[in-house]
Symmetry: C2
Subunit: 230 residues, 2 copies
DNA sequence: CCTGTTAAACTACCATACTAGTATGGTAGT
DNA sequence: ACTACCATACTAGTATGGTAGTTTAACAGG
C-alpha cells in the first residue's frame, strides 16, 4: 500500500480517479447503487479515502448521496447537460476569438499532431472495427484544451471540466453509439484553418455548431438508453 | 450536539459555512496557517467533518492543503481572479441578452425591491457611518442571481459561484475600502432600465463595464493590502 | 558565528469503531 | 388479505487512535 501510494499519489486521489473513470465509461451505469464499504473492499482501501472521493464526485454531480440511506450513480440530467453546454459554448467562442488574434507558434505543432492522431484513430476504428472511442474522446478533449492553453487560460479549461461531467458522459455515449466521427474531425480541421486565417467570425460560428452536435442527437440517445436518463 | 445538528444540518455543512464565512470576510486572513485539530477544538466537533469541510474549501481554492505539512488560507491570486472574472463577464453578457428578450413579470418586482434595498443600504451607510458592506455584497449578489433565475439558469449561477471565490474576496475587499458605491448602484439601475427597454447591445456593454470595475481598482487594493496577495 | 545533523513536535492521511438515521422483511392482530 | 408494528440489517455521519511524511529548533562540530 505504501509503495503504491508513492507511485500514484494519495489513496484518495487514486480511488477518485478509478471511480470517476468507471462512471464516465459507464462501467458503473447511471442509477447503480453503490456503497462506501463495498467500494472500499473492492479497491482494498479503508472507507475514509473512498468517502472523500465520493464527496468530490457528488460535488461534480456524478453521484447522489442520500444521507443515512445510500449512494447512487446519478442519471444523466439533460437540463444539467444543457447548462454545462451553454457555458462551454459561450466561453469557447471567446477562447477561439482570443486564439485567432494570437496563436503561439509552438502550439501550432501540438494542434497539428493532435489532428493527425484523430484521423489515425478514426481510420483504425473503421479498419479494425475495434473500440477506440475512449482514445478519440481523449484526443477531442486535448484539441480543445490546447486552444485554452494557447491563450493562457488552461485553468479555465480545468474549471469548466468540473461543470461538464453530465455533458461529457453524453458525449462519450454519443461516440460509442455513432460510428461517424467525420463531422467532428472535419470541424476540428476547419476551426484550425480559420484560426490560422484569423477569420474570427467564421471560427466562432463553426465552434458554436461544433458544440451543438450533441444537442441534435440527444433525443436519439435518450431513446436508445432510456435507463441512463432522468 | 445532536440537537444542534437537527437545527442546522450536518456538522460538516455547519463547519463548512462557518469557516467559509470567516475566510470571505477576512476574519481568517490570506496566508493564515490553520490545522484540522485546532479548528475542530474551536468549533467543538471532531476532526472528520472539519477535514471534509477543508477538502471542499480546497476545491474552491480558498485553502491550500499541503499533504502531511499543513493548511493555509490561500492568498488572493490575481490571475485566478481574472480567469473567474473572464468567465463571469462572458456568461453574464449572454444572460442579460436572454433576459432582454424575455423578462418574467414576477421577477420585475423582485429586482425592483432589490434595487430599493441597495439604495437604502447605501444611505444607511452614509448616514450612520456603520459597516454595511456585507449586507450590500449580499444584495449585489442577489441582483445578479435574479437575472440568472429569470432565464432559467439558476444552477449556472451556483456553478459560477464555485469558481469565483477569489473574485468575490476581492470584491468584498473593494466594498469595505471604497466608500463610493454609487457607481455600482447606478449601473444596476441602468442595466434594469435597459432590460425593460430590451436594449440588448447597450445592456451587454454596461454589464461588461460593471464586471470590469474591480479590474480598475485592483492595483490600488494590492498596494493597500499587499499581505493578502500572492 | 555559521553549517550540517538529528530528534522531537508538529501536520495531514488513513483505518477502524461507534452512532444514528433509513429501508425492509417478518409477524401479530384485525 | 391487509395493516400496524417491530426487529434487523443496512446506510452515511462522526469520533478517535495510529502512521508516515514535514517542519522546526536545538545542538554538535567547524
Amino acid at each position: 500500500m505504501t509503495a503504491r501510494q508513492n507511485v500514484r499519489g494519495s489513496t484518495r486521489d487514486y480511488s477518485y480517479n478509478i471511480i470517476r473513470n468507471k462512471i464516465l465509461r459507464l462501467e458503473l451505469e447511471p442509477g447503480t447503487k453503490i456503497s462506501e464499504k463495498e467500494m472500499a473492499d473492492e479497491l482494498n482501501v479503508s472507507r475514509t479515502p473512498i468517502r472523500e472521493a465520493f464527496m468530490k464526485l457528488a460535488q461534480e454531480e456524478l453521484l447522489d448521496i442520500i444521507p443515512q440511506s445510500g449512494t447512487v450513480v446519478s442519471k444523466i440530467n439533460l437540463e444539467h447537460v444543457e447548462e454545462g453546454r451553454f457555458i462551454r459554448e459561450k466561453i469557447e467562442k471567446e477562447i477561439v476569438t482570443l486564439v485567432c488574434s494570437n496563436f503561439p507558434e509552438d502550439n501550432r505543432f501540438k494542434l497539428e499532431s493532435n489532428l493527425a492522431m484523430q484521423r489515425l484513430c478514426s481510420d483504425k476504428k473503421n479498419l479494425h472495427n475495434h473500440l477506440f472511442d475512449e482514445e478519440f474522446f481523449q484526443l477531442d478533449e486535448e484539441f480543445h484544451q490546447i486552444l485554452f492553453s494557447s491563450c493562457g487560460k488552461a485553468r479555465t479549461w480545468e474549471m469548466l471540466q468540473m461543470l461538464n461531467n453530465h455533458f461529457n458522459r453524453l458525449r462519450l455515449l454519443r461516440l460509442s453509439s455513432d460510428s461517424n466521427w467525420e463531422i467532428i474531425i472535419s470541424q476540428h480541421h476547419e476551426i484550425y484553418r480559420l484560426i490560422l486565417n484569423q477569420d474570427v467570425d467564421r471560427a466562432r460560428k463553426i465552434m458554436e455548431e461544433h458544440l451543438n452536435l450533441v444537442v441534435i442527437e440527444q433525443n436519439e440517445l435518450r431513446k436508445t438508453y432510456p435507463q441512463y436518463f432522468i
